[in-house]
């Protein structure tokens, strides 16, 4: 039998990214356990919160309807902490990560490929949440574009936040550690203006909420119900960028450490 004239060659970064992302996206429908529970939780919280607190919130200093006030919380609850980090841990534990390390695939495209799949998941999660908001009467004065920006900002936040679980996965290779990174979610989401405006928060919580970047993301998202507010949206983007730099630096540091051969 003759040796076939098929020779391996180096691939460029973008081709590698496309292949890595294709693998991550292809397996998404086979991993519905990731998507379905994460969709139920925000819808449940949204329904319960607006059902239980709408009347109480009438006394609060709100510029918008409480249902609209809560919708950004539902979006952030849906996308925060959701990632393919669990799949990455399985790759590490099953040796598939080592197999990838032995190929000409660029190391960074492995992680970025997973994040592209995350982005797809965020959009899948955001659409029903926003649809539910519209069904219960939430209105976007900024129109369709406002809805798209609303989903985009939520997805962008979800994407930068994945840095934490990926960092956990890469530093530890341990699924429990990845699951525990979910704990970060609580201070990020709830020590904010998630329930009432800052003016209605008491002493220390008001101070913490002022320092919490997620407060500004919530405010930016809420601004889309009323008008295009460049300042609020700018603050939201800055907050996302700040957390993003920290979280993604950790993740890529973990990747470099994990793929080091010395």
């Amino acid at each position: 039998m003759e040796t076939p004239a098929i020779i391996a060659r180096r691939i460029n970064f973008f081709f590698g990214l496309r292949v890595a992302a294709s693998r991550s996206v292809r397996v998404l429908p086979r991993d519905l356990a990731l998507i379905i529970p994460t969709l139920i939780v925000p819808i449940f919280f949204f329904a319960v919160t607006i059902g239980a607190l709408s009347n109480l919130a009438q006394g609060a200093n709100l510029e918008i309807d409480y249902k609209a006030f809560q919708l950004p919380v539902a979006i952030l609850t849906a996308v925060t902490g959701v990632s393919r980090a669990g799949a990455l841990v399985i790759d590490i534990q099953q040796g598939y990560f080592d197999r990838l390390m032995l190929t000409p695939l660029n190391r960074y495209s492995i992680l970025l490929g997973l994040m592209i799949a995350d982005l797809v998941v965020f959009i899948i999660l955001s659409v029903p949440v926003v649809a539910l908001g519209l069904i219960v009467g939430v209105r976007f004065e900024t129109g369709i574009l406002g809805i798209l920006v609303f989903i985009g900002l939520g997805a962008l936040w979800g994407l930068v936040y994945t840095g934490f679980p990926y960092a956990m996965a890469l530093f530890t290779g341990n699924p429990t550690a990845v699951n525990n990174s979910f704990l970060l979610f609580f201070p990020f989401i709830f020590l904010t203006t998630a329930w009432v405006p800052k003016e209605n928060l008491s002493g220390w919580l008001s101070s913490v909420a002022t320092l919490n970047p997620v407060t500004y993301i919530l405010e930016g998202l809420r601004s889309l119900f009323l008008e295009w507010d460049a300042l609020e949206l700018g603050k939201a983007l800055l907050a996302i960028a700040g957390i993003g730099i920290a979280a993604q630096s950790l993740a890529f540091w973990g990747l470099i450490k994990r793929s080091r051969t010395d």
Binding site: R26, G95, R99, T261
Partner: protein
Amino acid sequence: MEFAIYCKNLCRSFGEIQAVKSLTLGIKRGEIYGFLGPNGAGKTTSLRMLSTLLKPTSGEGWVAGHDISKEPELVRLKIGTTLQEASLDNILTGRETLTYQGRYYGLSQNQIQTRIDELAPLLDMDAIDRRVKTYSGGMKRRLDVAASLIHNPEVLFLDEPTTGLDPVSRIKVWEEIRQLNSNYNITIFLTTQYLDEADQLADRVGILSGGEILTEGSPEELKRKIGKDVICVRVGENGASGTSNGSGENGENNKSDRQELLDALGKVSGVSSVDEQPGELLIGAENGTAVLGEVAVILKGSSEDVIEISLRSPTLDEVFLEATGYRIKTHEDEPTSTEETQTVENLKN
């Protein structure tokens, strides 16, 4: 001589622990080289250095003409590596696994299909569109090997390719390794902790213990180095084994009888060694036929329950024992669920 794999004084330490002390070897193109040693001998660390997954602490190495430290990307294009555990994504199908693997190496869809067709004998084509998680251990292992070969590498590294496989899968993997080597002239570097695997597959064997090669050569050369025949005496539990019934006064007597027997056998002219092992005695002699009669007479006069006496040439088992002082397992020694797993027994203790 152009080597497919060559390394000189390759060392690797993990903190205080020196996993590989000073590895020097040359493996010719088209050769199957078996790296034989117990767990912790440094086999996997050596393989990971040669396949660029681990940088050597010191020393140098070349694989497929490229420096493993300075040109790891070029080495990776020319090697295929199958690690100890099947490195597969269980959610993908067999075909997807091979397709993605081919894409990582820049192969076109047509090239990948060509390679899948060529590798079909190695694969379970009926199951190729099933998810990997439904595969048996043997099927996974063969898919793993096929994935390592999809880009047509010059050198294939196999880390304990049959560990954990059932006998049928093991023989199938051996057969495929032989065919890969003969059909494609692929150089194969395999690590194993099984003597029979090294004996069956390898053109040359390096015996590794404590992070260094103790002896090296073809299985036949290594056996000839031992230079003696082996008289193997299988003994039953009712004799003077001193092990199974060795309690109390009877036990002491049995031990004493066994020691007397060993001494008597050791004094036979032409006998060079007597090893006592569970269920058997191994008597080494330059000319086994010449001493067999006298050995049989001594055994008949002893209280030993002799089941069988056989004369054979040395096996890699004896070679390993001679080189390391340890006995290593064969596939037949694989522990059952009720047995305690113990890879190496120190026979000197």
